[in-house]
Amino acid sequence: MSSRHFAALCLLPLAIFAIAFLALPIVRLMLASGEGEAGWGVYWQILQTPRYLSTMGQTLAVSLAVTATALFVSTTAGLFLTRNRFAGRSLLLAILTLPLAFPGVVVGFMIILLGGRQGLFNTILPGHVVFAYSTLGLFLGYLYFSIPRVLLTVMAAAEKIDPALEEAARTLGAPPHRVLFDVLLPALSPALVAAGAIAFATAMGAFGTAFTLATNIDVLPMVIYSEFTLFANMATAAALSVCLGLVTWAVLMVARNVSGAVVAAGG
């Protein structure tokens, strides 16, 4: 058997699985969105319903804010940890990357422990400091699982930066912030874009955190769930899912083309 045939054979299980459990269901979901009372007009209806638009806007806003903050925090921490060796470094690193696999519900619980009525902040600080159930709580929850994600990718890329570049800049007299903005960040930018895209996609689709926090700010996955539980409004739930999927996928596509690299494993 030729090499090409063997490679095709290697792809066969993937093809079967992807068609049966990814392609066909997605098609079915798209068809389901058109099976409601309004037919395909449901998409037009969604665009005209202020509640859905504002929810989409809120979801985008939270996701973008979280991505930006996570990029800032993780890049700072990532650069710091890559270029400094000290006692306790591995411990810090482990702490910062552990929440990678926490489901959203656990993250929501963590936020309640910090900022709920019986949370740490309300117990320690005077007055009434309960932020778990507000927008801030949701933002912090999303930040909680975004920081590890971004950190891993940033660190992987930071380790690859040629120290000679930084040395050269410094010997030429560049102050630290110039070194940062002119040498380090540009070198990191593909990784930052890739990491930011993944963080954004995860935030857009996050469900467990909002579900646990029962916040007043609605994000699109919660609305999809509400539609589903409101007399099994499948068509609207499906249509909203398709919209959410398209928006997220589009952002990832753009990021992919801009960064041009394959996202590393484990991030």
Partner: protein
């Protein structure tokens, strides 16, 4: 320079505290007799006992599904990763993108799609394999990309052509050359798959039935409806399961990264 260093250190420590403090709280709450009274009420293992009584099946189910997920992603992902790395091109890129869709599409939507299409097959619907499909969908891209990353970093073409010129057929080359070289990626990918499967919630929430609660679904249950101590004890068990896996995953990924460089 000092100011920059201090600033960076402060941000790093603050972030670490933010992530770590509630986990400590949770562990303590799971071992405290009464959270309201705090540590004064004493430490106890009773809540862990209660959690075991209520949710033991969910823990075993999660473990079992994670192992099954690993087996399936190995069988599907390693050959696929090889094929995509050996013949990179537009088709490979497109396929890789497509397989990574479950990372972009919200789990909720994917689960709805699966229920719409396969909900009618009752035996499938009510079996743990239904949940397994969801987990494989979500973790397969990680296995494939881990394998691809490592294989793309070595000169696979030359190695294979060398072996081919010595008369080795494709299947032999796969077993003797590709798999050993891909090992760091397979290892990193495997740990990622198992870890993510244990923690998967978005898809499983929609796909599960009351007899098939996985650990995260049980956790959501307990956060919403059970006492804080029970929820914390349950979270503690989850931590105990997942932390060693995460540490191993990081070690394996670092190893793979060194190869890629």
């Amino acid at each position: 320079m000092r100011a920059g260093y201090v600033f960076q250190l402060a941000v790093t420590l603050l972030a670490a505290a933010f992530l770590f403090v509630p986990t400590v709280q949770s562990v303590l709450a799971g071992l405290t007799a009464n959270y309201f009274l705090g540590l004064r009420s004493g430490l106890t293992l009773q809540w862990i006992g209660v959690v075991w009584g209520l949710y033991a099946d969910s823990i075993f189910l999660s473990l079992g599904i994670a192992l099954a997920c690993w087996a399936v992603t190995l069988l599907i992902g390693v050959p696929a990763g090889y094929a995509l790395a050996r013949y990179p091109g537009r088709l490979a890129r497109a396929l890789d993108e497509f397989v990574a869709l479950p990372l972009a599409i919200p789990g909720l939507a994917l689960a709805l799609a699966l229920i719409q299409l396969y909900g009618g097959f009752r035996d499938f619907r009510m079996s743990w394999t239904f949940i397994l499909v969801g987990h494989v969908l979500y973790t397969l891209p990680f296995m494939i990309r881990a394998v691809m990353a490592v294989l793309l970093a070595i000169d696979l073409k030359t190695l294979e052509e060398g072996a081919a010129s010595l008369g080795a057929p494709p299947a032999r080359r796969f077993i003797d050359i590709v798999v050993p070289n891909a090992m760091p990626g397979i290892l990193a990918g495997s740990l990622t798959v198992v870890t993510l499967s244990i923690g998967e919630f978005n898809l499983t929430w929609m796909l599960h039935t009351p007899f098939l609660k996985t650990l995260p679904v049980g956790l959501a249950d307990s956060y919403a409806s059970m006492r804080l101590e029970i929820a914390s004890a349950y979270t503690l068990i989850f931590f105990v399961m997942i932390v060693p896996l995460l540490l191993a995953m990081q070690w394996a990924s670092a190893r793979a990264q060194r190869i890629i460089q």
